[in-house]
Symmetry: C2
Subunit: 133 residues, 2 copies
């Protein structure tokens, strides 16, 4: 598996844990320290405790949205990779930045930022690139 594929695999696992309400999987995907997260409209969360508490709140009650990752694109900067993608939540689209760092043979997520985007549906592929439902 090439580097880009390995990053996309980590990104896929992130959305699988998110859409699947799987907090334990989400917990394993995040880096051990220095992590940050900006959920849509939320103020930024700093550090593992704050970030994982937010995911526990989002995923803990089985209330995660039916989120699909669309059109992910990877840019690798040495030991760091940035994935930019759309998040499809029903008829709502968000733009997301996901930053990963290399951790041995795997990539773990260290920053997530999602927010609203104006998207022309005709510009997107008909089928999701990554779907978990």
């Amino acid at each position: 598996m090439g580097e880009e594929e390995a990053v996309l695999f980590a990104n896929d696992r992130f959305y699988a844990a998110f859409a699947g309400n799987d907090f334990e999987a989400m917990d394993r995907l995040w880096g051990p320290k220095g992590v940050t997260c900006i959920h849509p409209g939320w103020q930024a969360l700093h550090g593992r405790d704050e970030v994982m508490a937010s995911w526990e709140a989002i995923l803990g009650e089985g209330g995660a949205p039916d989120v699909k990752c669309r059109v992910p694109r990877v840019t690798i900067h040495g030991e760091i990779a940035i994935v930019i993608c759309f998040e499809e939540l029903g008829s709502v689209y968000l733009s997301a930045t996901n930053v990963f760092t290399r951790n041995g043979n795997e990539w773990c997520i260290i920053h997530h930022h999602a927010g609203p985007v104006n998207v022309d549906l005709e510009e997107l592929p008909k089928e999701p690139d990554v779907a978990f439902n």
Copy 2:
């Protein structure tokens, strides 16, 4: 100057170029390749040509907003640094992710993502941390 200060300095220069409508300064701050940018509500821009064309459009006509950086926080991950801050535009606040990479003794920006945030003004310091006006 310590590492965090050097990153904050680069972040300050980014907002100085932004608020100051200084496209040439903005152009010098961005990394040479693999850069990405998500302006509020825009679809993601990939590569130096797309990203710098957007800044030329935003700054070129002297129409940059009166943007101030508030409460920047730095996390360094080896050769990459992530700054999270608020952007104050009049009475509107955005949350921003700015990613920098080390370039010799300086840090250059390789990714910018800004979007809406719900912020309680009482939680922010009364004076901007960084102001250019």
